[in-house]
Amino acid sequence: MSTCLGIESTAHTFGAAVVSEDGRIMSDVKDIYVPPTGSGIHPREAARHHVSEAPRVLRKALVEAGISIDDLSCISYSAGPGLGPALRVGAVAARAISSYYGKPLVPVHHAIGHLELGRLLTGARRPVALLISGGHTTVLIPKRRRWRVFGETLDITVGQLIDQFGRHLGLSSPSGPKIEGLASTGSTLLELPYTVRGNDLSFSGMLTAAKRLLARGHRQEDVAYSIQETAFAMLCEVAERALAFTGYHELMVVGGVAANSRLRAMLKAAARRQDAKLELVPPRFSGDCGAQIAWPGIMYYKGGVRVRPVDANVIQRWRLDVVDVPWIE
């Protein structure tokens, strides 16, 4: 049975996991960098965090999987997109292990990791996928060796909307849970731009308008409530549009923003409205983690994909719809 050690270090999270070719997650360990209150992620600080935590996280992933490096079939790493300094930590670790132990090295696109781990864990076969993480707000369908972009944000992501609003309020990032808390005590719906274009979305106007509402003296709770209601309604609408168009019967949602319970409830109802079933990744695996890199890693490995350690670079900007995913029919 082949096994893969996957290393994730795209942004806040340093993660390592061992996954077997039959899709068993033998271990999944992570440590998350938390920036100081009121500030966003600083790439170099994140990298520093990853460097100091990497040895412990990697060791723990191997111990929990009950496997030694010698017995692994391959090493995979998150090659992008993401923050350069953070990505390089994972790549360097993967490169070192690979050359020292003579293990094949496999690069993985971070977002493909979210999507493919999502399919593994939910059992969804041919879903409309909604990827909502810090870096993505994208609607996709799997078709002919690719995840094809059906719609996406035209400017900032919904994760950035929430984080930047949180930072404006002086909350530490990621501020999703705190905004959710605030929103749950709000009740007045304030008008914010609702911008859907086909299957595309725009959130930057909403951020500006929300800040203006605060400046005019509206309660934080009400503005947070209105942002959530409006932004989530837009997400649900594009999900419904993609389901109606394709006629698919599964709506798979992946990425950290899916942790929001209001959003989950709305998506569930939206899916039902289109005769589709909502497939959610268990919260433990919806955020960034090693398993999302290890699982595609082993699939690519079995398909013969390798990079030489000297060529194992990172790509900060990398569109996911150019990535070949040979096992998608």
Partner: protein, 211 residues
């Protein structure tokens, strides 16, 4: 209260239910925007009534601009309903599914070109919103439409077409989109600037980089 006799559901769209009905002896389509029960009720009401009004207006204005659209017969803003002409035919989406005739995309490009010439942005010119009725291509679903002179807004329309072709209809994408643009360029004088804007949009920020 609108008086028509419902004959059955013909489609469930993304936001609306489409009914075939008889109105004074005509076959008509009733587009009824159903509540999305999972939304804040105030938001839901606002979206549905605004879109219904916009759609009725712009179906009419597009027709004046020379773009074939269903005739609007009645508008009920309370129930978010539009009663319009029934267009019998097949949707572009299904036509492309069976690879029929890619030429029809050139006509689609012409319709969008005419629309943009009149400073109307469709908002959702995807392949499920064109019906080929005989030899006439008809454009539907103006719920996301608005008036704008802005090239960036018009470029988003092209982007929506491109996305639909490159994802769902990827088999015909390259030739199909080229055909679409041929029709577009031939009918719209400002097309050059819009296409530049599309390229700019796709080469910057989101389309180039994904953090």
């Amino acid at each position: 209260m609108i008086s028509y006799r419902e004959l059955g559901v013909i489609a469930r769209g993304a936001e609306a239910e489409l009914l075939l009905a008889d109105w004074m002896g005509f076959d008509v389509v009733v587009k009824r925007r159903l509540p999305r029960g999972y939304l804040d009720v105030r938001l839901d009401a606002r979206i549905r009534s605004r879109r219904t009004i916009k759609e009725a207006q712009l179906l009419h204005e597009a027709r004046l601009a020379g773009v074939p659209t269903p005739l609007v017969f009645l508008l009920d803003t309370v129930n978010s309903e539009i009663v319009m002409q029934y267009i019998e035919g097949r949707r572009l989406k299904e036509l492309l599914d069976v690879h029929v005739d890619i030429e029809v995309l050139e006509e689609a490009g012409r319709l969008v070109g005419r629309l943009h010439s009149a400073d109307i942005v469709h908002g959702d010119p995807t392949t499920s919103n064109f019906i080929l009725a005989g030899d006439r291509l008809v454009l539907l679903d103006f719920g996301l439409s608005y008036r704008s002179r802005d090239e960036g807004d018009k470029a988003v329309d092209l982007h929506v077409v491109k996305e639909a072709l490159s994802s769902y209809h990827h088999d015909v994408y390259e030739e199909g989109f080229a055909r679409f643009l041929e029709g577009y360029v031939a009918t719209y004088k400002g097309s050059g600037i819009v296409m530049d804007e599309l390229r700019r949009m796709e080469s910057r920020g989101r389309y180039k980089q994904v953090v």
